[in-house]
Symmetry: C2
Subunit: 243 residues, 2 copies
Amino acid sequence: MNQSIAKTDYRITEDGWYAYEYQRPALTADAVIFGFDGQALNVLLVKRGIEPFKGKWAFPGGFLRMNETIAQCAQRELSEETSFKEVYMEQFGVFSDVNRDPRGRVITTAFYALTPKIEVRGADDAAEADWFRLDRVPALAFDHDRILRIAYRRLREDLHFRPVGFELLPETFTIPQLQRLYEAILDVHFDRRNFMKKMLSTGILKDTGLKEANAPHRAPTLYRFNLEAYHQFKNRRNFNLEF
Amino acid sequence: MNQSIAKTDYRITEDGWYAYEYQRPALTADAVIFGFDGQALNVLLVKRGIEPFKGKWAFPGGFLRMNETIAQCAQRELSEETSFKEVYMEQFGVFSDVNRDPRGRVITTAFYALTPKIEVRGADDAAEADWFRLDRVPALAFDHDRILRIAYRRLREDLHFRPVGFELLPETFTIPQLQRLYEAILDVHFDRRNFMKKMLSTGILKDTGLKEANAPHRAPTLYRFNLEAYHQFKNRRNFNLEF
DNA sequence: GCAAAAGTGTTTCGTTTACACCCATGC
DNA sequence: GCATGGGTGTAAACGAAACACTTTTGC
């Protein structure tokens, strides 16, 4: 419930523009959405339908409205431009280089989020949205290449200290899947036994008792995420998921 | 060296205001400066000389100019409003609640920085700037109380994983000083022997061979910060200063 | 000589790491 | 029956934590 702004700080010109006493930047939010397909980390991009950078790929994002916070803006733009519903997003930086946008002074607040790699589609037939493997991302619009590098670095850092990885998997998942995810993001290899021991010792995994269907070999056990334990765990001091 | 903006995105009205096609927020930067006096953590505040919140204390900060990044803005406002020169600042959040500023839609990017608690003065005789112990901070202007809580939480988190603490001390310092600092920030107690062992094992402390002058009892050894080792250390994976 | 804070080493404990074999399934 | 990946236990190494006495200095 947004209340109205206490006082107007603008005047409306004859042709309906908004006039301010001092110059102001435009403000946008951009959403870096990571998805995992079981093998590699992917990022969600949309193809720009208008200039500037028409035809180039970029993050879902757009201009702030006056009745929303910057986080709400990121959510709204994401769901407008792709078929995504709500995802939890983490703010990771403001990008304010003077010439980062050819349209003028545009400053963006970047968010990142993790989801399973579900099918996406653009908002309408004209718009395209698609996943790209992180090692096959094309040159992006604006300074989005740089934003992506910083988002990925931040994701890796966060993964060491918080169990964010689960957000990238479907509701039920196997420990080998989880391990592949950690290995893909951090670009390292873990010993299977130690990985399983550590994950199970956290208590945030709940055994469903089920086995994965259609497994090519021995069917691995399906686990589910234990939300209550996760919250306790998150707030625990002196505990991290570093490997 | 800022280049000019590629294209103007505004029109100037007859009376010299700036008109834009869509509404825009105003953008500010605020600097939460922490200082340590040997006993307690302090924060630097300036007293507001104008409305809104005239007479209330707030962080140094102010409006973005069109030829600077948001980080440069934070630096500039800090040195304009206090006697501070350059300090390294870390961005920690954007605050964009719709009604956080009675003047209209104002969005701020908040930075924090650590310095020794040196004497400060306001920019001119009218302006006041002063340190406040963290447990004696008055009610602040705008949503700065909230920003302070978040800055302090972020400082504690960072302290666990990066040797930021040194930035709060003078050029040479003693290990007991450093320990008091950690204990003040984290609100815990450490065993002296273990603390010293761990700090010395990092290699980022350099023994000056000197002893503190005017010590009331046995004079403790003065150390200096080893900058090269610090940089190596910062970039090392899988190492943290957690206690 | 006593109060106050600095300096120093060792043992215990828990966590992390390294490592090898058996099991279930599909072909 | 064999290839593929899942599941399990134990020993060694390392880092963290607990712990007490001696030294220096000012009063």
